[in-house]
Each structure stands twice: as C-alpha cells, then as structure tokens.
C-alpha cells in the first residue's frame, strides 16, 4: 500500500522531468521521442494525484496528505539523483516501477 503510493509518486515526477527539454536530452540524448511534452505533463500530474489516493483511503485525509507530501519529497530526490548519476537508466527504472505498481495492485491481500 505505502510502496504503491511512493512508486506512483516516482513515476509521476519522472514523467514531469521528461516533459522538460533539458532533462529529456539528459535521458534520450538526440534520439527523438514519441511522447509530446504536454502528454507527459498531463500523465505526470495524473500519477501524482493517483499517488495521493492510497494513503488518503488508508489514513484519512489529514494523515494521508502528510504521508503523500513526504513521499513526494523522497521520490523527487530519487529523480534528481538518477538524472545526475544514471540518466540513461531512467526509462528502465521507470518501466520497472510501473510494473511494480501493477503487480502490487493485482496482488491479493
């Protein structure tokens, strides 16, 4: 439950970074990408919103929002460190995180 939310926050922020010109260059170099920046921005914000859902449904709005902002900070620091030290790995990490979210969502509790 907690990990789903953290992974969603990471995916959202990574997409938001990819929607920015200079970070897309860091990750993909000159290779053209298919996703238009606007779509990445929308998807990023959508995932950030989704990330707030699990903690809010589990803890209620007051504690849930506190959990959500804390997770956003940690996800953002991870995105920054990846862009600095392993930018080419971001697509793989992003795909793994997305797969993990799906796996956690389908896992029977």
């Amino acid at each position: 439950m907690s990990w789903t939310s953290l992974l969603l926050a990471f995916c959202g922020l990574a997409l938001l970074a990819l929607s920015m010109e200079k970070h897309r260059e860091q990750v993909f170099g000159d290779r053209p990408t298919m996703a238009p920046p606007l779509a990445l921005t929308c998807a990023g914000w959508l995932l950030l919103g989704l990330a707030a859902m699990p903690p809010i449904s589990h803890h209620g709005a007051s504690i849930g929002l506190a959990v959500w902002t804390g997770e956003l900070s940690i996800a953002a620091i991870t995105v920054v460190l990846l862009h600095t030290y392993a930018p080419r790995w971001i697509p793989i990490v992003l795909a793994t995180a997305a797969a993990a979210v799906a796996a956690l969502a389908l896992m029977p509790f």
Binding site: A17, M20, I63, A66, V67, G70, S73, I77, Y85
Partner: protein, 531 residues
Amino acid sequence: MNGLGLRQANSWLHTWSGLLLGWLLYAIFVTGALSFFRDEISFWMQPDQHASVAHAEAPQRAMDAMQAMAPDASLWTITLPGPRNPTTQVRWFEQGERRSKFGGQSAVLDGTTAQALPVRESRGGDFLYRFHFELYGMPRLVARWIVGIATMMMLAAIISGVIMHKKIFVDFFTFRPRKGQRSWMDAHNALAVLALPFHLMITYSGLLLLMFMLMPWGVDSAYQGDRQAFFSERGNRKAAGEHMPGIERTPAAPTAIAPLVRQAQARWPGGIEQITVTDPGTSQAVIELRERGAGSLLDRGRSERLLLDGATGAPLESPAAVKPDAFSAIYNVFSSLHLLRFADTWLRWLFFIGGILGSAMIATGMILWVVKRLPQRRKQGSHLGHRLVESLNVASIAGLPVAIGAYFWANRLLPVSMQARADSEILVFFLAWTACLLHACLRPHASAWREQLGALALLLALLPAYDLLQGAGAMAAALTHGSWVAAAMDLTLLAFSAMAVAGACFMKPGKATRAATQPSASAKRIEGVAP
C-alpha cells in the same frame, strides 16, 4: 528595478540570518529528526532488554506480575508491548501517594515472560528530544525563547529563500556535480525545494507549539493564570480514576484480563496501549483500557477508552469522545504533525528522512557561505571571521553527529552501577563535541572535515559490532520473532556510517584545492547563462 531590490534584500536577509542561526538550527533539526525515533532510541539504549519480544499473553502475565509485585498499590499503569518498544512498562503508586506522570515506582518487564528486566540509568532518546527545544544546562524559559527566535528566523529564511530563488521550476530536478560552488548551490536548492512542504510544515508547527510558551498572555488573561486549566479543558483529559478517600478497601479477586483484552482488540484495530487499574485487588477496582493510536489529526490522535469493573469485568460508563472545535482542530493538526504521536512506522520514516533533508539543507547552506567567499579569501589572504565560520561549520555539521555517536558509546561502556550514570553519558556528549570544536580550530579545513567524518563512520559502524560481541539479543529478536526495533537502529547506524564514509571520501586531499580554483570558472559560466 523594484523586484531586483526586493530580491537583493531577501538575499541579504537569507544569507546573514542563515549564517548567524545556522549552527543552532542545524542542531535543532538533527536532534529533532532523531526525536521522531525517541522511544526506539531509548529502547536501544537499554541493551539488556533487546531480547524481549511481544507476546499475545502479555496483558494477563503483566497483571499477574503486578499482583505479585505490588498487591497493595492504589494504582497500576501497565503499558503493553507495542511496535516501538517490545517490553511491558509498569508503574505503581502506594496508598496515599501523589499520582504524577513520573512518580511512584516503575519496572520494565519482558514482553513474553513478564520477568523484571535490568534497567540501566540513561536519559536515552529523551536527552535528544529535550535538547531539540530546550537545549541543555540553561533555564528552560530562556532556552525556549532562543529556540523560538531561531524558529522564526528559519521561517523567514525559508520564505526569503523561495523569493530569491531565480529558477525554481526550471531547476526543479537539477543537480550538477563536481562544479564547486554551483554544485553546493544546486544541492542547497534541491534539498530546500523538493522537501519544501515538510520544511514549512515542521517550522510553522514548531513555532505554533512554542507560541503557547512564548506568548501566553491571551491564555493567561482568559484563564486567570491557571494555564493548566486551559490545557486540561482543551485536552479534555482527566486523570484516570480520581482517588476518593475514606472508602473502605474490601479485598476481592480480580477478574481475568484476557477476555476483556480480546473484546477491546476486536473493537480497536490498533490494539490496546495501556491498562490502568485503580484500587487493584479490591471490590472497587476499576480497569481502564486505552486504545493505541487513532485515526485522525483533527483530534490530536486522541484515543478511545473503556472503563470496566475490576472485580466482575462488567463495562462501566466510558468517557464520551468530544468533537474538537475549529481552532482546536487546526492547532491539533499542526501540533500532532510535529509531535507525530499517532504515526505508524512508514510516516515516522518519511518524517525522519524529511528532518535529515532539512539538516542537510542547512548544512549545505552554511558550506555555501564559505565556498562562495573562498576566491576572495585566496586573493586577499586569510581572515579570522572566515576561519571561524569554517571551524564552526566542521564542529557543528560533523561534530554534532560525532558527539551523538560518543553519547551512544558512553551508554554502552560506562559501568552500569556508576553513580549519576545518566549525567555522565550527557557529559561525554558535550566533551566529544568540545573536542570536535578544538580539533576543527587546530587542523586545516579539509583535514578537519575528513578526520571528523572518518571518526563518525568508525564510531557508528563499531556500535552494532560491539553489541553483537556482547550477545546478539537484538539480532535474535529480529530474526526469530520479527521484532526489529533494536536491530533496525543498528542497521540505521550502519547506513549513516556509510554516508559518513562517502562524505570523508568526498573531502579527500587535493579536492579542496581543485574545488577552490573552480568557483571562478563556474561563476563565469553562470554569468554566461544568466543575462
């Protein structure tokens, strides 16, 4: 033009308030972050209790143990094993004794066997927690004023920092390493911006908590100076089972606690935190069960209580839950966010990491002050003020963690039977900190960093090793029963040791001179980019 003036004024305020109060704020942030794990640290500083594991029968066994230890007491409080401490903590008061929070007699029982465990005299995490807002060795009120003013300056520094930050969204995910001053700036910005909600919330709520102490006039005039009445009215708390004198004590067999506990656990998902028994062993006995944690910040994590007849187990009328008014709700949200009494392990870790990010933000800010002025110092020769800031930076940023490591070592190495043992642990903390200050003043800047970070790494890494040699109680409890409180602390110490190693490698010789020549080059780059 006006905007530029505003930005420059903010920059001036940010730089100088940050420098003057940075060292104090760093200490407040570090000890505050550790205070989120205050109970866990206190437990870790009782190594003889590490093998304790919570057991489902703990309530009944604790009641039996109390019956044997204190049959004639007027009150028992039994704090059951929980996720933050796997022992049972008991306290009891003799007939006619005043019932205060820390009065009476107390003992710590094994979570499974309910045998009394040895308790070593130590302030544990409470020392760090008190230091966080009352410092040490000075009048409480003065210290709280100092911390309160520092907190206000922190709030001002955060706001002025946001205003002076030129490209907050463009640079949101940017960190450019190995570029001297530019890198420190990026690190400072990233640590500040990415955890900004946490920094704002924790500073504002800290200020709100201190507000009742710093500006009590409103409350004083409304309650004619009886501040206790204000807080008890707001908290709507009354001491459990007020004592009624003059009633004859008729002995009566106590009811079995286990069925009552099962009944309460079915009702409360978090389980029971505490059992209070008034007039145990008599026909007037009253058992109070208190819920562990609660679901919302609005009522400050206030938990539900159940009152039961101690002889028959029949339910008595329980105190009704009160819905807080709007002002109380807002105060409750912020104060409980700061105190984090309600939190589960996940949120506790998130806030701990937030606190560490805040400490790192302050540290990078103070290092930036030094790095920014290095080219000028290189041209104009050394300067006493600059040297002082350098030394104080090392002594606080690296020295405080070293002192905390020394405090942990004192807990392990000082003889258990020593007189005034808890005070001696604290003395070791301050001696180590003073030694770090002297060392930072006497050694060249880069060497001071490297040596203190190296010492920190050794201190922290050897603590878990020492515990393993002394008997692997913590590891056994973790691996065989999944009771991770003490073992998690050991792993955290190792993680911080690794970070100290990384810091020491970063400060390796030659790096300082290279970094010093770079700022001018990177400064040109910045001028080139920003028109």
